[in-house]
C-alpha cells in the first residue's frame, strides 16, 4: 500500500470509529505495520486544512476525526446544543486529579480548601474522572483518576501535554500583573515548591 493509499485507509477507519483509534488497531485492520500507520496518520494531522472540512486530531494516544473549527457555528446550528461548559470548580478539581492521580477526595479538598463532593460526582457523571481502587490506610478511601475521555474532551494526546512544574512557574511569572510580586519574592524559593505535592488533610488549627 502506498503512503497515500494508507492515508485514505486511515481516514476510512477514523470515519467509522466512534472514538480515537490507536496505531495498533488501525494496523490490524489495514494489515500494515504500526509505524507506517502512525506516519501516515501524522501526515493527516499536518494536512493543509483547506483540503477538507474534516480534520484529523492527535488525541488520547491515537487519532480522531473532527470537523474543522472554521465551521463550528454551522455545525452547532445543525447539531444543536452541546453539554455545558465545565465550571471553574470542576476545572480546578480536574487539574488536581490529573497531576496527582490516583488521589483521594480528601487530597483534592486539601488543595482547593473546599468541600468537593458535588464537583467530583459531576466529573464522574460526565465520564472525565473515574474510581481507581482504594488507598491503603485508615478508612481505605476511594482513589480517583482521569479517564481517556478526559484527554479526548480537552484534546490532549497524553497527560504529558500538560505543563510541568517549570513551565507552570514560567506561565505564572509571565502573567504581567504578577511580575512585580514574583520579583519581590525569592524565585528560588518558588521553584522548590513542588507542584505535585498533596498532603492528606493535616490537622488544621
Amino acid at each position: 500500500m502506498t503512503r497515500e493509499e494508507l492515508r485514505r485507509g486511515i481516514e476510512c477507519l477514523l470515519f467509522v470509529s466512534d472514538g480515537p483509534l490507536g496505531a495498533r488497531e488501525m494496523s490490524l485492520a489495514l494489515d500494515t505495520p504500526e509505524e507506517l500507520v502512525a506516519e501516515a496518520a501524522a501526515d493527516l494531522v499536518a494536512r493543509d486544512p483547506s483540503v477538507s472540512g474534516i480534520v484529523v486530531q492527535a488525541v488520547a494516544g491515537g487519532w480522531q476525526m473532527v470537523t474543522s473549527p472554521e465551521f463550528a457555528v454551522a455545525v452547532a446550528r445543525f447539531v444543536g446544543k452541546r453539554a455545558q461548559r465545565l465550571s471553574k470548580a470542576a476545572l480546578e478539581t480536574l487539574a488536581i486529579v490529573a497531576y496527582n492521580q490516583p488521589c483521594t477526595q480528601a487530597e483534592v479538598e486539601f488543595v482547593r480548601g473546599v468541600d468537593s463532593t458535588g464537583v467530583l460526582k459531576g466529573l464522574i457523571d460526565r465520564g472525565l474522572v473515574q474510581e481507581a481502587g482504594r488507598k491503603e490506610g485508615p478508612g481505605r478511601p476511594i482513589l480517583y483518576q482521569t479517564t481517556q475521555e478526559f484527554l479526548v474532551y480537552f484534546g490532549l494526546n497524553s497527560l504529558a501535554d500538560l505543563p510541568d512544574q517549570a513551565e507552570l512557574e514560567a506561565r505564572l511569572a509571565d502573567a504581567p500583573e504578577r511580575m512585580e510580586a514574583a520579583a519581590a519574592g525569592g524565585p528560588q524559593e518558588g521553584a522548590q515548591l513542588p507542584l505535585i505535592h498533596v498532603e492528606p488533610a493535616a490537622p488544621d488549627a
Binding site: 466512534d18 473549527p69 476545572l91 482547593r112 473546599v114 513542588p194
Partner: protein
Amino acid sequence: MAGGGTPHSQDAQLHMAIDFRQESNPSFQVTLREFEGPLDVLLHLIREQELDIYDIPIARITAQYLEYLRMMEAVDLGVAGEFVLMAATLMEIKSKFLLPRPPAAEPDEGPDPRDELVRRLLEYEKYREVADLLGDHEDANRLLYARTVEVDVSDLPPVPSGTVSSVDLLTALKRVLEEVGEGRAPITAIPRQKVTLRMKMSEMFRRVREFGGRMPFSAMFAQERTRTHIVMAFLALLELIRLGKLAAEQDARCGEIYLSACPEPEQEQEQAQ
C-alpha cells in the same frame, strides 16, 4: 460543611464594589466575584494589591478577609465552614506575630507561622493556572465536532426512517421480560418442547408477514409464555433484522418499535433472470 462547595457560585454575575477602609490602608476596592473558596479569595487579595506573597502583611490581609466574609453575609450568600475555618487560621497566625519573639537579627528564628499558608496558596495558584489552561483547551475543543457513530451499520438492511438501535431493542426486550416476571403463566406449567433459533426465526417472520404492515414489537411476544421463549424470540428477531428480512422502525425515541417484512431483492433478481 457546605455540600456543593462555594456558597456564592450561584451569584457569578454579582459585581459589588466595597471599600476597605482599614486604619492605615489606602482605600482598596474589591469586586465580589465568583470565588472558589477561601484560598481563591486570599490569592485574589494578595495578587490584586501586588503584595509580596512571601511576606504577607498578615494583619491587613486578615482584616480584608474578614471584611469579605461580612460582605458575603450582608448580601445573604451564606458563609461556608471552610471560609470560617480560614478566618480562624488567619487569626491564629496573626496572634503568633503578636507574641514576643527573639530579635529579628537572629537568622534561625524558627518557622514563620505564615509558611504553611504561603505554601498552600502557591500550590493552589498553580492548579488554578492549570484549570485556566484546561479551560482554554475546552474552549478550543468545543469548536470541534466528532461523529457519534453507531458502529455497525454496514450490513444492516436499509431502514426507511427512525432507525432502531440495538439498545432500543434490548430496552424493549427488558420491558417484555419484566411483564413475564409479573404474572404470566408459571414456568412449571410450560409444556416442554424443542425450540431452535431457526424455528423461531421462521415463526416470527411468518407472524410479521401474516400481520401485514407494521407489527408492534410488543405484540411479537404476546404468545411467548416463558422467558426462554421470549429470549429466543428476541434473538430470532435480531437475526431476522440482521439478515435483512425484517426492518425495525421507531417513530419516536423510546416509542413503540414496529417490525415489517422487507422485500427480498436478491430472490426477486434471481426470479427476474
